[in-house]
Each structure stands twice: as C-alpha cells, then as structure tokens.
C-alpha cells in the first residue's frame, strides 16, 4: 500500500469516492443527512457528490434524525440503498430507536424476508475540545446490540473498501469514522491515515481484522485512532527492544476473535486501546475474548487504555489527561513486558 507515486487520499475523500462509484453503477444508492449536500458534510466525506448526482440523490435533511433514519429504513426495505449520515455519533440518543430497534431488527422480525441495505455513517472521537456532547466514540454502545454490523477504518484504503462493502451489503452497517483521521486540517488530522487508495472500486471484507504491524512480544488491539496510537508506541518500543504486534480490528461486528486470539497466542501479552469509555465496552470484550479462549497462556495480566468512565471535559488539559495516547500505550507495554503472571 505504499507504492511510490501512487495517489494517496484522505479518509474523507476515500469515503466520498466509494459512494460516488456505487452511485454511478446503482441508481438505488443515495445519500442523506444534515448538511451533506452543498456543504459536503461537516467532515468532508460527501464533498462533491451533490455536484455530480444532484439534490435528489444527495439530500439535505431537516434536523430530524429519527425522521430521516427511520425513513431510510423504509426506503431500504423498498429497494433503495440509502447511505445516511448521523453528523456526530454523540447524537445517537435522539434516534437510537430508529437504529437499534428498527433498522437493526427488521430483517430478523421479518424472518429474513426483507432486507435493509443501508449504511449509517457517523463521526466519532475527540481531542480537539469539542466537549462532552461532541467528542465521544460510543463504539461499545453500537457493537453491543444485535442486528447491525459495525466498522471503523484507521486509514483511507480501508475506508474506501469498507464503505464499498457496506453499501453493497444487504444488512445495515454502521460506518464510524474518526474525526481526527478525516484529513481535515481543522481537526488536527493524523497524516498516517492518508494512504494509497486504488481508483477502482474494491471491497474490504467486513468482519476481518488486519495485522497493522507484526511483532512478537505484545499484542495491541485497537480500532480507528487507537491503531495510530499503537503504531506510534510500537516504534518507540522497537527502539527499546520490545516487538509489538498491532491488530486493527476494523470491524467490531462481526468481531474477528480468531485474529485477536492468534496474535495473543503468539505474543502472550495483550493491551487494548479504546477511545470509548472504559467499562462495559470494547476493552472488556477483547480481554474476555482472549481469556475465555482456554488455550492462551498470558505472560502478564491484560491491560486496557481507554477513556475513563467520566463525561468528556472541554478543557484541553483535562481531555488530554483522559484520552489514550502513544505514551500511555508504550508505558503499559513496558510494564507488562516486565511483569509476569502470578504463579
């Protein structure tokens, strides 16, 4: 993926490209949400679409998330393939019924006789002082409930491939994109997320984790922004003689437990990095996945670096104190590479 002279895209542009390509080949695909037409989405991921496809297929909505998300469900059941934006994932509380009780369950309630081919894309993440109602990740909140696939890319290649796969999927897919990876300078973007993206359409299989970096001493499991923290920590740790394997989950539902377990089986050490809240979420699930496997011997107790169980503070110093970062990850890795499990 790092061939010289090949074009790199931001995640925002990769998402828009995937949508455009699917819209060209399938008239059923359309996009709707708040400020996604002329504005191109607050986070840039629908930029240019309205110019090519017009206001009918790239449709600004009123501020009525329950209305337009449940409308998307109805449209999807009627043969359309909506890609809908919930501007910030933090807003899920005003429309979660339409998501978890309707979108996610209608296939099941119908006994598999209807399909609900829709994508709900939504932004996650903090770090830029947008305070407690605009900075959350909520990965666990979506992944906990059945009937929806949940993906989140850490780079533009995966973003395009996952978006293409999501649009083509006949089941609902939650596509979570981290604001700090979008390639928008005003969000202090992570440059490593901008990678080579092939021009032709392709799919990244939903439900398969990637080994973002191979290593032998410790496994760091994460998703989206956390993957970059892990990779940065891994570089530092390498210089100290600690070999780090980084697993990029990419998909929370389905969860690729095999890849996680295989990695920890090899390294014997596990750290989970999760920008979502600490308890009852992703970090606990990954640790349980490893510990319940029954054939994995840990050389040290598993660790998690997650957002503490407190609302997200506005003040820069407070928020940064709580967020995962490469330093915290590296420190945890150093510690568990020193510690042994109790006899």
């Amino acid at each position: 993926m790092t061939i010289v002279n090949e074009r790199k895209l931001t995640i925002a542009r990769a998402m828009a490209e995937a949508m455009a390509q699917e819209m060209r080949i399938d008239p059923a695909v359309f996009v709707m949400g708040e400020d996604i037409a002329q504005l191109g989405g607050v986070f840039g991921n629908t930029r240019g679409l309205v110019d090519e496809f017009g206001k009918d297929r790239v449709r600004d909505t009123p501020i009525s998330e329950t209305g337009f998300i449940s409308a998307a469900v109805g449209a999807a059941m009627d043969g359309m393939r909506p890609v809908v934006e919930l501007m910030f994932v933090d807003f899920f509380g005003v429309c979660f019924d339409a998501i978890y009780n309707l979108m996610a369950k209608n296939i099941y309630f119908s006994g598999g006789h209807v399909t609900v081919p829709m994508v709900l894309m939504t932004s996650t993440g903090g770090g830029y002082s947008d305070a407690g109602q605009h900075s959350q990740c909520l990965y666990g909140s979506f992944a906990h409930l059945p009937g929806m696939k949940v993906v989140s890319p850490s780079n533009a290649y995966d973003a395009k491939g996952l978006m293409t796969a999501a649009i083509r999927d006949n089941s609902p897919v939650i596509f979570m994109f981290h604001k700090g990876l979008q390639g928008m300078g005003w969000l202090g973007t992570e440059a490593a997320a901008n990678v080579h993206v092939p021009e032709d359409a392709y799919e990244v299989e939903i439900g398969k984790a990637a080994i973002a970096r191979e290593g032998s001493d410790v496994t760091i499991v994460s998703i989206a922004m956390g993957v970059h923290h892990a990779l940065k920590a891994a570089k530092v740790l390498e210089a100290e003689g600690i070999s780090t394997e980084v697993v990029d989950l990419r998909s929370l539902v389905p969860l690729d437990r095999d890849t996680v377990r295989a990695s920890v089986r090899k390294t014997g050490r596990l750290i989970v990095v999760d920008e979502d809240y600490h308890s009852y979420g992703v970090s606990g699930e990954i640790i349980a996945t490893v510990c319940e496997a029954g054939d994995i011997t840990l050389k040290a107790p598993p660790r998690r670096i997650a957002y503490p169980d407190v609302p997200i503070a506005y003040a820069h110093g407070m928020e940064q104190f709580c967020l995962p970062n490469p330093e915290k990850v590296a420190a945890a890795a150093r510690e568990i590479c020193r510690t042994a499990v109790p006899a």
Binding site: A71, A72, G74, M80, N101, F109, G111, H113, S171
Partner: protein
C-alpha cells in the same frame, strides 16, 4: 367519494373477517392461561392487543390501496393487516409462533411482515411513521407508483417520531398519509389527559398540509376522506393527516381489567359496534340482502377457521433457528 357496491361488500366481509379472527384469537389466547393467567403460557403467549371495534378505519383506508402500496401498523395491527391483504394463514401461524408463520415465529403479533403486500408493523409507539415516509420517498425517487400509509394511535401523536416524520413528508411533498386511530385511550391514559387539542387533525397546520377528522367510526365517511387523501397523494400533491374517531371494544391488551374506563363507557361503545351498524345500514339501504350478508359472514368464518387450522397444524420452529436470519 362513495364506495361502490363491490367495495362495500369487500369492506363488510373484511371487517367481519377481522372481528372473527380477533374473537377466536381471544379465545385461544386464554388456552393454558387459567386458572393462573400467565402470559408466557398457552399456544399464543406474550401480549395481545385486539382491534375489535376499530375495523372501519382499516377497511375505509385500505379499500383504496393496492398490494404495491405500503402500510405500516402498530402494536394493534390485525385489522389493518387483514385489510391490507396479508396472508391470513401465515399471519395466524406467526401469532402461534410457528415455523410456518410470516417470520417463522421470530416476530409474533407485534411484528408482522408481509413484503408481498408491503405490510409491516412494530411495537414501539410511532415507529412506523418514518419507514412509511421513507417508502414514499423511495417511490418518488424511483418514479414508481405507490402511496404509503402509516396507521398510529391517538396517543402516538405526542411522540417525537410523529412530528419528525410528518415534517419530512411535508417538506418533501411525499405520497404519504398518516391515519390516526383515535380510540380515546393510550393504555389507561385518556386522550384528554395527554393531548392539549381535542383533535389531532389541527396538527396538520404545523406542516402546511390538509388535515381531516372523521367522526363516528363510520366506514363510509372514512372511505370518503381517505380516498381523497390517497388520490391527492397519487397525484403528487403531498401528504395528508387524518384522524378517525374509533372505539376500542376490548381492553388495551388481554388481561387488562379496564378499571380506568368511566362507568357505562363499555356499554355505550358496544351499542355503537360498527359491524352490526354496517350490516343494518347495508340491508336498510338495499345494498345487500340479509342473505348476502350472512353469506359473507359465513365465508369469513371459513377463512378464519382455515387460518387457525393452518396455524395450529404448523410445526414449531427449531429452537436453534433463533440464531438465524439476523443478517440478510
């Protein structure tokens, strides 16, 4: 708009079918539930919301609909499902939780889905509003014919989802009709205690669309008003909000002691039971003879009995199939 003789016949037959269906479901629901009433027991477990008395709304609206049109219904969906032409055998089987049911037993009485006639329902108040609006949007975008009707209760008109969907339908001028069944009650909460306006049709003003209130649970009037709204929607002129006065002759759900009803209310409602009233009028104005009406009733009886037989005879689903059909 006046219903033709054929339409009136269909309406009466359909109302009777619905009532006979509810009547036998009511009876079977109690199997296994005495002496102790435990919802979990018997051939039909779970909650059961009967539609007795509300049949005129279903037939008055659905008489104008084709299979391609969309209907979303609520937790009280049987009359609408029957009027929309949902497969009665598989619907009954679903209510019995059988493998032969519409959803193989996964959905149950509050989750009846029949894509062949574009029918769906849901257990969350006002949840059907958005999907119906979205289906209407789909038709408009695809340039395909079809209107979408969402049936809700009068209690549901105070839910945010109602407002958002109405607004969306109006701003996008979609072929959508919201039909509110005003049976005067939420569960135990009276409309007057929950809604500051007497009639929800005034809420149409909030969306700049036509609003109508139909009094008296009258199949002819409902047919008329619904027909105009549906024609308007088909002509691309946008949505309509209709509220219909109707009567819930049963409890909110089975097991409801109905202690909240004022004394005498039930008797007064039974005196206005729309089925005998319709029969009387059809006979009195000479549309049908008594014998013709009796024949329709007998046909309904046969149809319902067959559905119940189909349901009873169906196999139970394999328990482990609970794990299937989560994703498409």
């Amino acid at each position: 708009m006046q219903p033709s003789k054929a339409t009136l016949g269909w309406m009466y037959h359909n109302m009777v079918t619905s009532r006979k269906f509810e009547t036998i479901i009511e009876k079977i629901y109690m199997e296994g539930k005495s002496p102790v009433f435990n919802m979990a027991n018997g051939p039909i477990p779970g909650e059961m919301h009967l539609s007795n008395g509300q049949e005129p709304v279903a037939v008055g609206v659905c008489a104008h609909l084709k299979p391609e049109d969309i209907v979303t219904a609520t937790h009280r969906p049987h009359h609408q499902a029957i009027a929309k032409g949902v497969d009665l055998n598989r619907m009954a089987a679903e209510i019995f939780g059988k493998a032969t049911g519409l959803s193989g037993g996964r959905g149950g009485h509050m989750h009846l889905f029949d894509p062949a006639v574009n029918f769906a329902c849901a257990g969350i108040i006002a949840q059907g509003m958005g999907p119906a609006v979205g289906a209407a949007l789909s038709r408009k975008m695809q340039g395909k014919p079809g209107v979408a009707v969402a049936f809700i209760g009068e209690g549901a008109a105070n839910q945010g989802a109602f407002h958002e969907a109405m607004n969306l339908a109006a701003v996008w001028k979609l072929p959508f009709i919201c039909v509110i069944e005003d049976n005067a009650w939420g569960i135990s909460v009276a409309k007057s205690a929950a809604t500051p306006v007497k009639r929800n049709d005034v809420r149409a003003a909030a969306y700049g669309i036509p609003g109508h209130y139909v009094e008296g649970n009258d199949p002819w009037k409902i047919y008329d008003v619904a027909g105009q709204a549906i024609a308007r929607a088909r002509a691309g002129e946008g949505p309509t909000l209709i509220e219909v006065e109707t009567y819930r002759l049963a409890g909110h759900f089975m097991g409801d002691a109905e202690g909240y009803r004022p004394k005498g209310e039930k008797d007064a409602l039974f005196a206005k039971d729309p089925i005998p009233l319709m029969r009387k009028r059809l006979e009195a104005d000479g549309t049908f003879t008594a014998a013709e009406l009796t024949k329709m009733e007998a046909e309904a009886e046969v149809k319902v009995a067959a559905a119940i037989k189909f349901a009873r005879e169906g196999a139970a689903p394999k328990p482990e199939d609970a794990l299937t059909a989560v994703f498409a």
